[in-house]
């Protein structure tokens, strides 16, 4: 009979287990049992009061305690000293649920009762856990510092011999990084399946590739594309970097639920939507909840319509020293990095504030030597007060310039990339509120007193505006009124502006160069180096054209443009069916136009153009989602060196052209060679099979060709193409020989 479980000797069963010391594992994986004490909190730091006033104190305390949850007088136990005369200065409180107890700890801890007493509120179980003897080592032990490990070179891709640029492409489930090889197939650097769960993003200087997962965000980099950092943020939706890549903001629409045993996030993060992280340490700096925008409109049933969230809500100053968030209509909170403390401990009150933007580069105002950052903001008309646009200097919080505006429906703030100008695009309604027109208020930030120039010659509303990067010219698109009920979007006009010629280094008044009417364009994409601009129609059902413009055309200049600092010329036009995005490479040499499956399912893929609009490649890709060029950090060569390069451009371009020709001819040779081989192989295979076939047919006693093929030959003989053999005999020479 096999021994049943009951009959087994208990000793033998446990022997093996006893020998192994599991205590370390037990400790590590210790499960916190429901001790039934989770509803208790301990309040410390109470005043010591005589027995007589104990009740009074308890009642006073209860008022505070009940803000966090439900409890009553009987559940507050305040121990007295041995004599029973004075209280001990602490109390135990029982709540109805553990959640209420946790809430009490969260909200009531470190609350001052009066000037002398600040209460400390802790969970009873925490006191057990951390306070018990031996749990926390009494002596200080220096933390172990891990030995130095050399990191991979994070900027390795800049050392490419051919100076090529990289791009990341997300299609299907795969994310791949490629070298762009002009008209040739891009060279794959890495390709991984399921590298991200929703999208990919480069950091602003191109150091890291960011992948998004349900658990959080990961950063990848170096030649091996190894993981550099990860930030745990369950349910993360969006991510944003500071300009210097030292900090990163993650956001989830769902408030975080942090378990207290979480190794990275603390209870501090519980219920928050935003986390701002330090990239170097991988630790959260501070977390925030999403601010619901005050809803202005409501739908038919009277429910407020949720407004589109602003992203990024936390905006970084150019040097990443500050990050700011606006509470719409009220204030702007500026936080100082790296401590993430609120600047001067108060938010900047700006009544009615609708939007703000930091200057994108360190400002250089006339005669201002001190360190400063600027941001521009606007407020709508409030009561009888006019709408205002202001420029504020940080950290002084001094308002540098304001301007009053009237009849404002909306405004958009556009900084020029070097912070030389900020253009406020003001949509103004007429007195009857029927028609709209747009004014441009251009603040010349670098000039003395920040003068404002107004461009009010535009009749329609401006739907898009873009400054030339590193330049002083801009392009805007206007759209006429939409007749209500019309399914077709209105025709648009594209206008090009530049400053007039002025003496010295001054920038003259902005003048219209040209307006192109009856277009459908809605997107403006400047080359990152300026001069060239692509004006396109994206996300449209009807049209998908791309116009490539040059602002400094080297040909003959029109007489009427002689006072302008531009010579505008349309270089080329392109057409990409279903185009959804346009991406310039960071060098300004190439433009990729993308049709992403996220927007529609038709002809997904990308086209690659040169800066001048010459089509290099069309790449239809199944399930194409994203193409992003890897940004480059700012150039390290000095202005003088750049000038030198420009001077000797002819010499340099000759070298590059030679290299191109050599590459192309060798590539052509390879193609021709491959074809030659294919042709040889094919012909050899054919002659072999034909021979075999004829042989086999003869073995069967059949004619050399099948009945099917015979059909063709019969026709030839019956038809006009009948071959007639004619034999001619020609006498070339006649000689007679007489035989004797």
């Amino acid at each position: 009979m096999a021994p049943s479980f009951e009959q087994l000797d208990p000793e033998t069963e446990y022997d093996d287990a006893e020998e192994i010391d599991y205590s370390d594992l037990r400790e590590q994986y210790e499960v916190r049992m429901e001790e039934g004490l989770d509803t208790f909190i301990v309040i410390d730091g109470l005043p010591k009061v005589p027995a007589a006033s104990k009740d009074k104190l308890v009642k006073f305390l209860l008022r505070k305690l009940t803000t966090a949850g439900k409890t009553k007088e009987e559940n507050v136990f305040m121990p007295m000293d041995e004599a029973g005369e004075m209280s001990e200065g602490f109390a135990f409180v029982e709540y109805e649920t553990p959640a209420q107890a946790a809430q009490a700890v969260k909200t009531l801890h470190a609350t001052p009762l009066d000037k002398k007493h600040t209460i400390a509120v802790n969970k009873l179980t925490d006191i057990e856990r951390y306070g018990r003897e031996g749990r926390i080592d009494e002596t200080y032990k220096a933390p172990e510092i891990a030995p130095f490990e050399e990191k991979e070179h994070l900027r390795w891709w800049l050392g490419d011999d051919d100076g090529r640029d990289q791009f990341v492409m997300y299609r299907g489930d795969n994310v791949g990084v490629f070298w762009n090889d002009k008209e040739d197939q891009p060279e794959q650097v890495v390709d991984r399946q399921h590298w991200t769960e929703s999208f990919v993003q480069w950091s602003p200087k191109g150091t890291y590739l960011t992948s998004i997962h349900t658990q959080g965000v990961q950063l990848w980099g170096g030649p091996n594309w190894s993981r550099q950092k990860r930030f745990m943020h369950p349910g993360v939706n969006l991510v944003d970097f500071s300009p210097d890549e030292r900090y990163v903001t993650t956001w989830s629409h769902r408030p975080l639920e942090v378990d207290e045993n979480n190794p990275i996030l603390s209870l501090e993060e519980d219920g928050k939507n935003y986390i701002i992280w330090d990239v170097d340490t991988g630790k959260p700096l501070r977390s925030f909840v999403t601010l619901d925008l005050p809803s202005l409109a409501s739908d038919n049933e009277g429910n407020p319509i949720k407004q589109k969230m602003q992203w990024p809500a936390f905006k970084w100053s150019a040097d990443s020293k500050y990050v700011a968030r606006m509470t719409q209509g009220q204030s702007i909170s500026v936080y100082e990095l790296p401590r993430m403390n609120l600047l001067d401990k108060v938010s900047i009150k700006i009544e009615g504030v609708m939007d703000f933007e930091w200057c994108p580069a360190n400002p250089q105002r006339d005669n201002i030597k001190e360190y400063e950052q600027l941001f521009c903001y606007w407020t709508p008309e409030l009561g009888s007060n006019p709408a205002k646009v202001g420029l504020m200097s940080i950290p002084s919080k001094e308002i540098v310039r304001t301007r009053n505006l009237f009849n404002v429906s909306d405004a958009k703030l556009h900084w020029q990339s070097e912070s030389a100008f900020v253009c406020v695009k003001v949509d103004r309604h007429s007195k009857s509120k029927k028609s709209l027109a747009t004014n441009l208020e251009i603040f010349r930030v670098k000039e003395k007193g920040v003068p404002v120039e107004v461009v009010d010659s535009i009749k329609d509303t401006v739907i898009n505006f873009a400054w030339e990067p590193k330049g002083d010219r801009f392009v805007l698109i206007t759209a006429g009124e939409v007749p209500s009920g019309s399914a077709v979007p209105p025709k648009t006009s594209v206008s090009f502006f530049c400053p007039e010629k002025a003496k010295g280094n001054a920038v003259g008044n902005f003048k219209l160069i040209r307006t192109v009417d009856k277009k459908n364009n809605n997107a403006i994409h400047w080359s990152p180096n300026g001069r060239f601009v692509v004006v396109a129609t994206v996300l449209s059902q009807q049209s998908f054209d791309l116009d490539f413009w040059d602002f400094d055309f080297e040909g003959e200049k029109d007489e009427k443009d002689k006072d302008l600092t531009a010579n505008l010329q349309l270089m080329n036009t392109g057409d990409h069916y279903g185009v959804t995005e346009i991406e310039w490479d960071p060098s300004g040499r190439y433009v990729a136009s993308c049709a992403s499956v996220w927007k529609h399912r038709m002809e997904n893929g990308y086209h690659l153009y040169t800066f001048s609009g010459q089509l290099l490649r069309e790449e239809p890709i199944e399930q194409f989602k994203q193409l992003l060029w890897r940004p480059r950090p700012e150039r390290l060569i000095s202005k003088e060196e750049m000038k030198q390069v420009r001077k000797n451009l002819r010499e340099y371009s000759r070298q590059f052209e030679e290299a191109d020709v050599a590459k192309r001819s060798s590539a052509d040779k390879a193609v021709v060679e491959a074809r030659r081989q294919q042709l040889e192989e094919w012909l050899a295979w054919r002659s072999r099979t034909v021979e075999d076939l004829v042989e086999e047919r003869r073995d069967y006693g059949l004619s050399d060709i099948s009945e099917e093929q015979q059909a063709l030959i019969i026709e030839e003989q019956e038809g006009e193409s009948k071959v007639v053999d004619e034999v001619f005999e020609e006498i070339l020479e006649e000689s007679e020989e007489i035989l004797a």
Binding site: R601, M602, R675, L679, W685, L693, S706, E708, A711
Partner: protein, 339 residues
Amino acid sequence: MRPILLSGHERALTQVKFSKEGDFIFSVSKDHVVCAWYSANGERFGTYHGHQGALWTVDVNPTTTLLATGGADSTMRLWDVKTGKLLKTWDYLTSIKRVEFSEDGKQLLGVTEKRTGQLSNIYVYDIINDVDAEQTSEPSLHIVVDELPRVTVAGFSYLNKYIITGHEDGSIAQWDAKTGEMLNNVYSHEDGMLVSDLQWSADRTYFITSSKDKTAKLHDTNTLEVLKTYVADTPLNSAAITPDPQQYVILGGGQAAMDVTTTSARQGKFEARFYHKIFEEEVGRVRGHFGPLNYVAVDPTGKCYCSGGEDGYVRVHHFDPPYFDFKYEVERERERGKF
């Protein structure tokens, strides 16, 4: 040359075939009617009535005397080409998806559809090339395809040596045409992507298959080895090999109607695509249909090709001089070397 539009069908075309001399085109469609046309001018020669359901397939024997058809009424029929007389009807339990004559015209095969408890069957009949003869009802060979998924296309190899079948899962199989034994089975197309067509080279020593996996592949009949692959950007319904000396293949397909969200012809990719047979490169496209191309066929004399579309039209395109003149540099080089 201006294409000839044959508009005699009321519903989607399913197959079009040239006679072996290239002078006739036979077309079948879902509208139950078989049509015969003159390929030179597009005039209709006649129609063949009798089928009670959509027609899936048609083939003509080498002497253009007998016409075989099969369709959803679960019959395979044999017709007199000249008079339109129905000569023989074979009845089955499921519809006939493919018929094909052997190269000598002495055998005819029919493939039945796998459906509701019925397996795919391949029936082979011996055919007497005489319109007055009584054709046999008994198949000379009957293959029940139970090991492999549904048969979609089938055909006779050179010398009636093998029967080659294409399957729903993208595989190709080779059978002994005498014994019905399976000799070889390869997975040349993407798994689960149906083989939509199989057409022969002139001597039937190699063949092309098209598939929903957006590729067409050239196979060696003996080894089933893939010789060439032609990659398209749309699911393919048909592929044809042009006769020598032109070295092209023609592919037809397009987004199936149920998969298209808009009816834009641009989007559907309803074009016939020409690829160079040896270099596997696309050399040209012919537009015109406004529905997917269900079948493409090439005139055996190489003068024209025709395509049958889901739009109910047959388009006959006579090739223009560039078609005959176009050559790759390496081909010219070889020709020069010859002389």
